[in-house]
Every structure is written in structure tokens, then in C-alpha cells.
Symmetry: C2
Subunit: 227 residues, 2 copies
DNA sequence: AAGTGGTCTAGACCACTCC
DNA sequence: GAGTGGTCTAGACCACTTA
């Protein structure tokens, strides 16, 4: 009995409603006995189902079938270059603006910056086969990534530079739909008011904010994944 | 040495660039020896890091640090009612349309339906504190969920009914931004052309398509998560 | 206080894949 | 063919939580 088979069997009992939502299922030891395997194997199977949101586990409380499981999707947000190349298009980018200025309060807040220091502000247009694909508006705190100031961002986009040099970080990400303002519309070569897919990301390393970025995708862009 | 500490230590060696992207790291047995724990513990730690996308593992090939890790987010898509109540608003829904008709080819294709059978088509408006929040346009194959035909969908929304009665299923999900057409705009009480956040989901049970749904969110809606 | 899941261990065998 | 990760086992102790 492999843990995958145990998992499949438990999954079946839930879908077949032998174990109803909200109900407790047998404890690991009993399941191990019934299925003829060790408790470790049962543990691994149940742990996997709990990570998927189908089971809820508590010490002493036992394991229950989740009442209303939220659909869970694993989203993978690749580099913009990879995203474009995956469509079979040629990637290019253009730096539209690069300046070191005081940042708006909203940016300072989301990065957790309290003083008045100037941040690096970058506006980059990413192109697929020469057509505007996404406009990147990014603020970077040079205190956390000083070497970025010397980087040749015409060759490597900030996006890629950061992933390569600060690969591991935690952050928030948000998706929304926004009507294009005049400036953005003109850069993306769409009508003002067009529905843009917007991704906002704030990235942290330990306790200090590194960068926050606003991505405005050309209409038609989709983010797809599997449940 | 717990597996979480092993994981943290390996994570540190990657962030500190002791192990560079693309490089192989020591084999499990050696790490176990060095860190003073059993191989199982190292295995669990490395497996976790691989699931996060930081490591790539292959039998015989060993374990390598991922070159360009894609940001990975776990997205949880809750019931619309839960979503609204989480904002502190009162939930309500209204069934705008309920009919049994032949479906458009696009719907038949995504559900994998080959014959001409009529599907259940439902249009439901979900309200937060009485204000339109999201418009749900859904097709259900009654062959896979026959009992839905007798459900009282004025009391329980289709959305919720399906989650409760067909809780376990796989599916695709896509996010995009779309300009509101006249009909949708009037229902959501926004200007035609407004930027709507759109979620499209197709849900399967085993090999048969259950339902496909198109959700048009009122402008301002955001989907947030953590990397 | 006691029951349940969380984890660690040491050892074993197996499956994959690179050389 | 051989090296590496994948997994199973039996037993043990611990941490949390609820009854």
C-alpha cells in the first residue's frame, strides 16, 4: 500500500460520501490497520489531502472532512520574458524612465519605509514581437539592493535582474482589472479606458521591503491555472 | 534537528549564495550526516523546498538549485457568499435566468460534450449589501448532476449547491480583464465599457465536464494572495 | 488527563536515470 | 551498472488540544 493509494482511497470515500462533510474520519492508527500499512504512510496521505484543503486536522481533535472546501489553485507567475517566449514570440524591453526620486506615500507605506530617502523608479515596457505586451512601473529601495544601481538595465530588465540577484523573497500579489488612463493607453497602444489586467506585487526580504511593482497587461491577457 | 530547521538552513545557503542557481547540492545522505539527523528528515525538508520551486530533484541526477524560480502563489477561491461575508457585507443572490437550452459550441467544447443535449443555463446576480457584486453565467450538464434540476436555487445559489453536492473535482481557472458589454453593464449597474475582472472556470469530475462558469466582477474587485 | 496528530530515527528496498 | 531520490516500516517520543 503506497501513500498515493491510501490518498486515492480516502479521496474516494469522500467523493462517494461514505464520509460526509464535517464528519470525523477514523484516526491514523485505525486506518493503517484497516488498509494494511504503517501509520507513517497514512499520515503522509492525509497530510497531502489536508494541504489540498479536503481535510482539516487537529491534534486530539482528529481529522474531519472540510465542509465547504475553497477551490485551491497553485499559481505560477513566471518571468515576463519567459511568459512571452512561451507564446513563441520574440522578447524585448525598453526602459522608458529611470529616476531616483522621493516616492509617493502609497509606495512608502507598502514597502514599510519611514524616512524620506529617494527610491529608484523604473518604467519598463515589455514587448512581444515588437508589440507592447505589458507596462511595468516599479519602485526599488536601493538600500536593500545597492548593486542594482550599477546594473545595465537596458540589457537585462529589472524584473529579471531582481529574480537573478534576489531570488528568494516573500511577497503579496494582487490581481485586478483597471481601465487604462490616457498615458498608459498611449504606451500600450490601446484605446483610453480599455480593460487592462493589472498585477501588483510587493516583495520583501526578511523584514525590509525590496520592491513594489505595478504591471498593466495589454487587453486579452489571461492568467490560467488548474485547480 | 527538525525538518523545518533543515529546510531553513538549506534555504539560507541558497539565499546566501553558498549554493548557486543551477548547481547541485550535496546528496541527502551527506547532508543528514553533516546536519546530524536522519535522511528522512533531510528528504522531507528538500521535498518541501522542491514543492516551493526552489529546488529541482531527480533520481540519480541529484538535487539542484532552480535557476529562475517562478513566483508561486497559492490561490484560494472561496464561495462567493463567503467572499462577500468576509467583507462584512450582507449576502444575497437573485436568479435572473434559468433555462434548459442547447448550449453554444464554445461551452460544449470546454465541457467535452459531443451530442446535442440541452444544458441548464443559469444567470445569477450576487449582491453585497444589496449592491451588485458579481454576475455569474453558468452552464451545467444535468447528465452529471441530475439532482440539481430539483434544487431550490432561489434559496441556495447554484455555486453553493454545487460545492456542497459535488465537492471534489478538478478544473481549469482563468483570470482576465474585459470591458463590460451593454447587458452586463446594466445588470452590474456600471458604465458600458467599464473594466471588469473576469474569472472563468471549468470543472470536471473524473472524465465528464460538470459545469463551466463565467464570473464578471464589479470594478474594484481584487484577488489577493501571498507568494 | 488523555487522545490524536506531528515528527524523528534507522534501516531497508525500490525506481528511475545518467553514464 | 551504479548512484540518487522515493518510499515503506516499526517504534518511539513529543506537542497540542479538547473533553
Amino acid at each position: 500500500m503506497t501513500w498515493q493509494r491510501v490518498r486515492a482511497e480516502v479521496h474516494r470515500r469522500i467523493t462517494d460520501r461514505l464520509w460526509l462533510p464535517g464528519e470525523s474520519i477514523p484516526i491514523e492508527a485505525d486506518l493503517a490497520l484497516e488498509l494494511g500499512c504503517s501509520r507513517s504512510t497514512v499520515n503522509r496521505a492525509l497530510r497531502a489531502l489536508a494541504e489540498e484543503g479536503l481535510l482539516e486536522r487537529r491534534r486530539k481533535g482528529g481529522t474531519r472532512v472540510t465542509k465547504t472546501p475553497a477551490a485551491r489553485a497553485k499559481l505560477s507567475v513566471p518571468l515576463i520574458r519567459i511568459e512571452i517566449e512561451a507564446q513563441g514570440a520574440r522578447y524585448a524591453h525598453r526602459v522608458l524612465r529611470r529616476e531616483r526620486i522621493r516616492s509617493p506615500a502609497t509606495v512608502r507605506t507598502s514597502l514599510g519605509i519611514t524616512d524620506e530617502r529617494r527610491l529608484l523608479h523604473l518604467e519598463t515596457l515589455h514587448l512581444a514581437d515588437g508589440c507592447p505586451f505589458v507596462l511595468e512601473d516599479r519602485w526599488v529601495d536601493p538600500l536593500t539592493v545597492p548593486s542594482l544601481l550599477e546594473a545595465d538595465l537596458e540589457r537585462i530588465s529589472v524584473n529579471e535582474w531582481l529574480v537573478a540577484h534576489v531570488p528568494l523573497s516573500r511577497g503579496d500579489i494582487a490581481f485586478s482589472a483597471v481601465a487604462a488612463d490616457a498615458a498608459t493607453a498611449s504606451i500600450l497602444e490601446v484605446e483610453p479606458g480599455a480593460a487592462l489586467f493589472v498585477v501588483e506585487r510587493t516583495t520583501w526580504r526578511d523584514e525590509s521591503g525590496i520592491t513594489c511593482v505595478h504591471l498593466s497587461y495589454r487587453p486579452g491577457h489571461r492568467v490560467e491555472t488548474t485547480l
